[in-house]
Every structure is written in structure tokens, then in C-alpha cells.
């Protein structure tokens, strides 16, 4: 089995960002933590409905931000570096036959 692999410099983790600048979603981390803090505060000493509402907004924003972070304009949501291909196709006999 061989790995089909090419260099894809879509790193957001090494401090190298090639993301579209000013794109929607850039400011979402601040909003995610703001709603989370609000939910925790309300959960500890505020009305339950407000705490749950804030946490649901936080959850929705987190899912949106997650999808934004992992989306690449070039590859979409695919992870082509994980693709594998077989260099030799194994011969598969019918079930139950042992050779």
C-alpha cells in the first residue's frame, strides 16, 4: 500500500494563515467565548432559560466556526493527504474458499 501525498500548505496551526482575510467567521472566536462566558455566568447565578439560550447560541457559533476552520477553498472538507491506494490489487476468492 502506498500513500498518495502532496504538500498542502493549508496550515492554520503553525501561525501561517493563507485564509481569506476579512472573511466571515474571522471574528467568531470572540463571539463564541463571549456567549460561553455569558452562559456560564447565567448558569451560576442567573435565569435558567437565559443560560440555556446563551449556551445554544454558543453551540451554534462553535459549529459554524468549526466548519469555517476546517474548510479549505481548494479541497473543501476533504482530507486528500489521507487518501491511500493499493499498489497491488489483492486477489479475493469466493467466501469460504481457502487457498
Amino acid at each position: 500500500m502506498i500513500f498518495v501525498f502532496s504538500d498542502m500548505s493549508i496550515s492554520r496551526y503553525a501561525g501561517i494563515s493563507i485564509r481569506r482575510q476579512g472573511a466571515k467567521g474571522d471574528d467568531m472566536m470572540f463571539a463564541v467565548f463571549a456567549t460561553m462566558s455569558l452562559a456560564l455566568l447565567a448558569g451560576h447565578c442567573g435565569p435558567r432559560w437565559f443560560a440555556i439560550l446563551s449556551m445554544l447560541v454558543c453551540l451554534a457559533l462553535s459549529i459554524g466556526l468549526f466548519l469555517f476552520e476546517i474548510y479549505s477553498p481548494e479541497y473543501g472538507f476533504r482530507m486528500p493527504w489521507l487518501q491511500v491506494q493499493l499498489d497491488i490489487v489483492p486477489s479475493v476468492g469466493p467466501r469460504g474458499s481457502h487457498s
Partner: protein
């Protein structure tokens, strides 16, 4: 016939279970913050999202201790544990094959990097909830006379979670401002 003490046992066990889970998550988040502020390991966007999901798990527990047992609280916690699993598995797969510009962020603890640990943590949380539901599920877990000592500990721990949640919020504001987050430095400190 069940005595009142027997009837209270499942509720007390449930409280102890949730308190232990919140304590464990508080410890994990504290270690992450120590590594960030003393070790200089600035968290990546997906790492920050993983912290949010851990706070989300604790949020359900905080609600339990403040408003009493409700299956909704367990549901909220499990939802965030599931999101933690999804985010951490995706991040693990992003960096699983080393290539230029891609490697696991931060230092390894016991040979595992943070996103891999997050997978382990998420699986542990979901497994713990599943075992709890299998053992204690189907009963009324409302405690008519909750233990004062447990309640006090839960309130203190809840307050600690709120405090580190606010510290993390401030930290994100300094690291990212209201723009994209980078691991190269703190935006508001000119990094």
C-alpha cells in the same frame, strides 16, 4: 421496602459522579492554561474550540447543581462531549501525516499531543455518561435533601469554572481581538 436513605443513594451517587467529572475537566483546563501562560504554548483555533466544548460539558453539570436533576442537563453535556469528539478527531486527522507546515501543536504529554488527548477525554466523558445512564438511568435522581457539603463543593467548583471561563474569554480577546486567531502571538500585545 426502601428506606429514605436507600432512596437517596442513587441521587447522591449521581451528584458524586458529576462532581468528579467537573473536577477532572477543571484540572484538564487548568493544566492547559498553565501550559499556555507559563509554557508559552499559544492555543490554535481548534484547540480553543475544544476548550469551549469542555466548558459546555461543565455547564450542564453547573445547571444540575443549581437547578436540580434534569435529563436536559445530561443532554447538554453529552452534546458538547460529542462536539469535542468531532473537533478533536478532525484535528488529529489534519496533523496525523506530518508534512511541511503541518504538525501537532504544543508539547506531547505521555507521548500524546493535545488533540489526541482530547479524543481520549471525549471518549472517556461519553463512556462515563453511558455507564451512569446504564446504572442510574430510569430512576428519579432528584434529591429532596441534598447534602450540604456536596452542594458547597459544587458551588465552589462551579464558581471556579466560571472564573477560568472568564479568564479564557479575556485571553481570547488578547490573542485574537475580533479577528482570526493565530498561534504566532497575542494580537493585542503586538505579537
Amino acid at each position: 421496602m426502601n428506606t429514605p436513605a436507600d432512596a437517596r443513594l442513587p441521587a447522591t451517587l449521581n451528584d458524586l459522579f458529576l462532581l468528579a467529572m467537573m473536577l477532572t475537566i477543571a484540572a484538564i483546563l487548568t493544566v492547559a492554561m498553565v501550559l499556555q501562560y507559563y509554557g508559552g504554548e499559544i492555543p490554535c483555533p481548534l484547540c480553543l474550540l475544544q476548550r469551549v466544548t469542555m466548558f459546555g460539558v461543565c455547564f450542564g453539570i453547573i445547571l444540575h447543581f443549581r437547578h436540580g436533576y434534569s435529563a436536559q442537563n445530561t443532554g447538554v453535556s453529552m452534546l458538547f462531549a460529542l462536539l469535542l469528539l468531532i473537533v478533536s478527531v478532525r484535528q488529529t486527522l489534519l496533523d496525523i501525516y506530518p508534512r511541511p507546515g503541518h504538525s501537532y501543536v504544543g508539547s506531547a504529554v505521555l507521548g500524546l499531543h493535545m488533540p489526541v488527548w482530547s479524543v481520549v477525554i471525549a471518549v472517556a466523558i461519553l463512556t462515563a455518561f453511558a455507564i451512569k445512564l446504564a446504572v442510574l438511568g430510569g430512576r428519579d435522581l432528584r434529591d429532596p435533601q441534598p447534602s450540604r457539603a456536596l452542594g458547597r463543593m459544587a458551588r465552589l467548583l462551579g464558581l471556579y469554572m466560571v472564573a477560568i471561563g472568564l479568564i479564557n474569554f479575556a485571553s481570547v480577546a488578547v490573542q485574537c481581538g475580533v479577528d482570526a486567531c493565530h498561534t504566532s502571538g497575542y494580537r493585542l500585545l503586538g505579537g
